[in-house]
Amino acid sequence: MSDALLRLEGVHTHIGQYHILHGVDFTVPRGQLTMLLGRNGAGKTTTLRTIMGLWKASQGRVIFDGQNIAGRPTPDIAQLGIAYVPENMGIFSDLTVRENMILAAREGEIDSQRLKWIFGLFPAMEKFWTLEAGSLSGGQKQMLAISRAIVEPRQLLLIDEPTKGLAPAIIMNMIAAFRELKSTGVTILLVEQNFMAAKLLGDNVAVMDDGRVVHRGAMAELAEDKALQQKLLGLSMDAHQ
């Protein structure tokens, strides 16, 4: 069993007067891909944003690599080695693909070997290198968002619904890219609505409902237990497979 790179302990988050997370607990083992599943409004995005410090936890602890990062400013959290790909991708539309990547490379120059590897994962990035990111298609923007997150080695990737709104062919492309990423040993926490993608990629799973984690375990177990899927996610998985 791998040790936990990230552990959430009783995390509560309020946004204005709304109490969104009600004591979220789960762990993300080092070097594995953990899926965070749940219905719309279950609190998945809020969980990622709370880890990233974009919304402050009102209670509880977020332990990353042995230190509590709850309440720290977002740039400090990013500098610890956490990369975040938000649901809206967070692409800088007015900047070129190259400029987006330059900004993501905090350490300075982009390592040419790593860039070559990224171009291997996402050939579109090489092709559109000098174009404004705003002119890319939705799938290409998602590729850029992920490329940006991995332009330098990071300890943990937080990725929010990377397959949302993408065509099936591009989803397969994404799944292949995540498999490749997994093989490098990076730890990933992936929010996903697409159960097929979750099944293919996840080592572990945490399922959220109404701001709480209602199930945690191995992804393979959930993938095989249709009754549990129905109970936790409230939909027929056959339709998603």
Binding site: P75, Y84, L95, L103, F128
Partner: protein
């Protein structure tokens, strides 16, 4: 290593269109005004004067548009840096009075540079203090920003009265910068040419900085999505303070040029151009330096041409221009993509 290329087989190169139309409005407007003005020499004089005026407005407005774009801060007190910049000319003019009267143009230009240097340094420091004391407590609260920055401006104006007195102060343009260049029948004031050149130089430097340096990229990225810049590990607050200081210093520089243009100092001179500056940054697209540049020239051209052709309309010409442009492009000439 290569991932299944299903999604990339169908790659078509998207075309990036450079939007020249707003920039083309400047020559179109100028050419369209020529037959209306009638006399070529008068048209040249009006046009060059408008370019100089536009560049001064650009200097005064460029910092404000970045401040608004980057941190969503409505700084109605921006005009105070213009007034302070103008008055701070006096600090340099005092010891350099001999150079002002000299007919050596290079000494005259040194006087201008000294005034600009002092004004930019001190307005930059004032900008830093203004951000810490006035702006910082009201991030994200537009109504409070308007009220407190207006209040800050009133306080600063009174400070000018305390330091330099309430009466208007005349200042002399250095000897060699007075007069005009004559091109046939057209007279182009020397000082206006200098003001136009300074504005163009500052725009060029800003353009290079915003497009060729990492700090510039961060500013542009921050204007579009500040939260994502923070998520990449950069402290947007520090960047904003830097932009605020530079914006204040540029307003101070604009104030110096504006002061020598008017040749009279009044504490309210910054507040007088505040409305004009807001019109310019709205026309240009909030947060857009290119839009601010084009908007400044358009406002000045329209003001000059209507002032000559229909003086009664001159007062409202900028607002009319803003209405027309917003009807055409509701986000301004060069809207900045927002999250």
């Amino acid at each position: 290593m290569t991932v299944a290329a299903a999604a990339t087989e169908n790659l078509t190169l998207p075309k990036v269109k450079t939007d020249w139309l707003p920039a083309m409005l400047v020559p179109i407007l100028a050419v369209a005004a020529l037959p209306l003005v009638g006399s070529f020499s008068t048209w040249v004089t009006l046009t060059v004067a408008a370019l100089a005026m536009g560049m001064m407005i650009f200097l005064m407005a460029s910092g404000l548009t970045l401040v608004f774009g980057l941190m969503d801060v409505l700084n109605f007190g921006h005009g105070v840096f213009i007034s302070f910049g103008a008055y701070l000319s006096l600090v340099a003019l005092g010891p350099l009075a001999g150079w002002v009267e000299s007919d050596n143009v290079w000494l005259n230009i040194l006087v201008l540079l000294a005034c600009a240097g002092v004004a930019m340094l001190i307005t930059g420091i004032l900008g830093w203090a203004f951000e810490r004391i006035v702006i910082r407590p009201v991030y994200g609260q537009h109504l409070k920003q308007i009220l407190i920055t207006m209040g800050g401006m009133i306080v600063a104006e009174q400070m000018i009265h305390v330091i330099w007195g309430a009466s208007p102060i005349p200042i002399r343009l250095p000897e060699g910068l007075r007069g005009a260049f004559l091109f046939g029948d057209a007279a182009v004031e020397r000082y206006r040419v200098i003001a136009a050149l300074v504005g163009i130089a500052v725009f060029a430097v800003m353009h290079l900085m915003l497009n060729r340096t990492k700090i510039g990229l961060l500013i542009r990225a921050g204007v579009e999505n500040a939260e994502m810049v923070e998520s990449l590990g950069y402290r947007i607050r520090r960047l904003f303070v830097g932009v605020f200081i530079v914006g204040s210093a540029l307003a101070g520089l604009g104030g110096v040029l504006w002061a020598f243009y008017r040749q009279t100092l009044t504490a309210g001179m910054g507040m007088e151009v505040n409305i004009l500056i807001f019109i310019v940054i709205i026309i240009g697209g909030l947060g857009s330096i290119g839009g601010c540049f084009v908007g400044s020239i358009l406002v000045a051209l329209v003001a000059n041409y209507t002032g000559f052709l229909a003086p009664k309309l001159a007062l409202g010409s900028s607002i009319l221009l803003m209405v027309l442009i917003l009807l055409w492009r509701p986000q301004g000439l060069y809207p900045v993509a927002k999250r």
